[in-house]
C-alpha cells in the first residue's frame, strides 16, 4: 500500500465504425492449401494401412489358378468361398486336419476365463490399493509394478517347471493362470489410478453409511467404473487372443490356441502353398480383436461420456 498511484492506459480515441468490411464467420475454402495437405496426408496414410488388408481379402476370394497369374491387386474374376471353408474346417496342422475351428474354440476357452479372472482380481487389487491404505500397500504396489518391467522370456522356463509340478502343464487352465498373472501388474495399475481419481469423499460417505469393503466395491465403485472395465477388457482380450509365445510354450498340439495353429498352417512346408487359404485363415484369426475394437470402441466412448457427468 506504499504506492497507490494508478496509471490508466492512454485513451485510444473512438474507433470508426465502417459500413463495409468483414463481418460474421470467416469464409473457408474447401481446396485451401491447409485442407489439401491435411486430407492428402490422411488419405495416403489410410491407403498405406488398408492396402495389405485389401490384398488379403481379394486373394482369399480367388482360386489358386487365378492367384498364379500374379496380379495381386486385381479383384477376383470368379469369387469363391472355398478357401474360407477350408481354412475353418479342413486345413491341416500337424496330425489334425480339422482346420482353425479347433484353435478358435481353444482360444475362446483360454481368453474368456483369463479376461474374467484377471480383471476381477486386478480391479479388487486396485480398489484396495487406492481406497484402503493398508500397511505395506506401497511396498506391494512397487513389487507389482516392477513385475510389469520384467521381460516374459526370463520367466518362461521357471513357469514351465511350476506348472509341471502342480500338474497343469499343457492344459488350458495352466495357460489361463499364466495369462491372469501376467495381466496383473498393468491392470492393477490401471484400476488403482482410476479409483484414485474418484472423489475420496464418496468413499468416506459410503463408510459413514455403513458399507464395508465389499459393499463399497460392488455397490458404489463398480457401477461407477464401467469405462475402465471396458478399457481393461479391450486390453486383455486383444492381448490374450493375439498371444503366441505363451500359447506355443504352455499347451499341447490339441490345445493350441488359434494363433499357434495359424502359424502352423501358414508355415507348413509340405505340398502346395495355398495362399488363398492362408489369407483366409489369417483374417479369421484377426477377426476377434477387430470385432472387439469396433464394438467396444463405441461402448468405450459411451462409457467415458457417461462417466464424465460428475455426481
Amino acid at each position: 500500500m506504499a504506492d497507490l498511484a494508478v496509471s490508466l492506459p492512454a485513451g485510444k480515441g473512438s474507433i470508426g465504425l465502417e459500413a463495409s468490411g468483414p463481418r460474421g464467420p470467416k469464409p473457408r475454402h474447401v481446396f485451401s492449401r491447409r485442407n489439401i495437405f491435411l486430407y492428402g496426408t490422411l488419405i495416403v496414410v489410410a491407403l498405406y494401412y488398408l492396402l495389405p488388408l485389401y490384398v488379403m481379402v481379394v486373394t482369399s476370394l480367388k482360386g489358386m489358378p487365378e492367384i498364379r497369374l500374379g496380379n495381386i491387386f486385381s479383384p477376383p474374376l470368379e469369387i469363391t468361398f472355398d478357401p474360407w471353408v477350408k481354412a475353418w474346417s479342413s486345413a491341416c496342422t500337424g496330425l489334425n486336419c480339422d482346420g482353425l475351428s479347433r484353435g478358435f474354440w481353444n482360444s475362446v476357452r483360454i481368453t474368456v476365463p483369463s479376461v474374467v479372472l484377471s480383471i476381477a482380481i486386478a480391479s479388487v487389487n486396485g480398489y484396495a490399493l487406492a481406497n484402503w491404505r493398508f500397511k505395506g500397500a506401497d511396498t506391494f504396489f512397487v513389487i507389482l509394478i516392477v513385475g510389469a518391467f520384467i521381460p516374459y522370456q526370463v520367466m518362461i522356463y521357471p513357469i514351465v517347471i511350476i506348472l509341471r509340478e502342480i500338474g497343469l502343464y499343457g492344459s488350458l487352465s495352466g495357460l489361463v493362470i499364466v495369462h491372469s498373472i501376467f495381466g496383473m501388474p498393468i491392470l492393477t495399475l490401471l484400476f488403482r489410478n482410476y479409483f484414485t481419481s474418484m472423489p475420496e469423499e464418496l468413499f468416506r460417505a459410503a463408510r459413514v453409511d455403513g458399507a464395508g469393503f465389499w459393499g463399497i466395491y460392488f455397490r458404489i465403485m463398480l457401477p461407477m467404473s464401467l469405462p475402465i472395465f471396458v478399457v481393461a477388457i479391450i486390453l486383455q482380450v486383444t492381448g490374450i487372443w493375439n498371444d503366441f509365445l505363451f500359447g506355443v510354450v504352455y499347451t499341447r498340439p490339441d490345445t493350441y490356441p488359434m494363433t499357434v495353429q495359424l502359424n502352423n498352417i501358414v508355415n507348413s512346408v509340405q505340398g502346395v502353398k495355398e495362399y488363398n487359404v492362408n489369407m483366409a485363415a489369417t483374417i479369421l484369426t484377426g477377426l476377434v480383436p477387430l470385432v472387439v475394437y469396433f464394438v467396444s470402441g463405441k461402448l468405450f466412448v459411451r462409457g467415458i461420456a457417461a462417466g464424465a457427468v460428475k455426481g
Binding site: 472423489p199 469423499e201 468416506r204 460417505a205 459410503a206 459413514v208 453409511d209 455403513g210 455426481g311
Partner: protein, 365 residues
Amino acid sequence: MTRLENPSVSIQDLSLNFGAISVLETLNIDVAEGEFIVLLGPSGCGKSTLLNCIAGLLDVSDGRIFIKGKNVTWEEPKDRGIGMVFQSYALYPQMTVEKNLSFGLRVAGIPRDEIAKRIARAAEILQIEPLLQRKPSALSGGQRQRVAIGRALVRDVDVFLFDEPLSNLDAKLRAELRVEIKLLHSKLQNTMIYVTHDQIEAMTLADRIAVMKGGVIQQLDAPQTIYNRPVNRFVAGFLGSPAMNFLDGRLEKDDGNWHFVAEDVRIPLATYAFEKQPVPGAAVFGIRPEHVAFNSGSGWPFTATANVVVVEPMGSDTLVWLKLANQNFTVRVTSERTPNNADTVSIGFDPMRASLFDAATGTRL
C-alpha cells in the same frame, strides 16, 4: 479447558500425526447437547482432520473420543451415531435421490416401511419431495447439498458433522442454505459440528466458535466474544472483514497512565481493560474499522487527523484507507459521507473497543 457436565461429544487429549508431521496436538473440546459448534480456521489448520477423526474416518494417534458418553475411539463410522455432510456432496452418481437417501438404511438392514417413513420425513423437512426419483446429475448444486443433508438426516443420529458444506456453492445459494441450516438446527436441536473457513458462516451459525491454527484451538467461545475480545493477534486478524487495523508501537507509562505510542500518535489507554498487568515495551494496537468514528467531533478519548489515501466503495458502506503513524489504517464510513482522495479527515475512537497484543507472542494484553 473447562469440562462440561454431560457433553454430547467430548474429545480428550486428541493427537494425530502422519509420521513426523503433527496435525492435531493434544486437543480438548466438549460439545454440549444440541450445541452448534463451528470449527473455523485457514486451510491446513486441521479442522477437517479433526472432523474426520470424530467421524471415525481417520485413526487417531492418541487420545479418546466420546459421543453421547460412549467411548467411540475404536468404533467404525457407522456405529458412532453420526451423520456427515461433505463439501463435494459425495452423492452416489448412479443412484436416484431416493436410493442415495436410503443406501445407509438398506446396508443396515432396516425394514422397508421404516425406510420409506424416514425418507418421507427427511424429504419433507428439506423440501426435496419432487426430486426423489432424479439422479444427482440432474440436480443443481443447492439441491444436491440438500440431498446430502438429507442423507445425514435419515440416519436418525445424535450428531451432525458438516465438512465445509457450502463451499462449492455460489454466494447467493450459500446465503440461502446458511439460513436453512440454521432453521434445521433450531427445528431438530441436534448437536452439530460444522467446519468452515468462512467467517460469516461461523459468526451466523455458531453457538460457539473454535478458531484453529496449526492443529491447536486458539480460542473457543461465543461468536461475539471472539469478535470483540480475541485472545491473540491471529484470531483478531482472521475474523472480521474488512480486517482489523493493527498499529505497531510501544506501550509506555507516563504520569501514572498507560499510553500506546507509535511515532506521533499517542493513544491513551485509560478505558482499556487490560487482561494482565501491563509492562512497557513493544506492542500491537488493534481496532476494527467499524469502531472508528469518522469526522464526528472531538468527544472521543482519542482523536487524530489523517490524509485519505484511497477509498473503496462497497455499496452499503465505504472503506477509507488512511495513513496513521505512517501505517495503513482503515475506517468504515457510511456511503453518504464518502470523502475524496487526499482529503484531510478527523477520526476518533474509544480504546475500550480496541485490542492490545504483545508484539512478540501475539497474545492479548
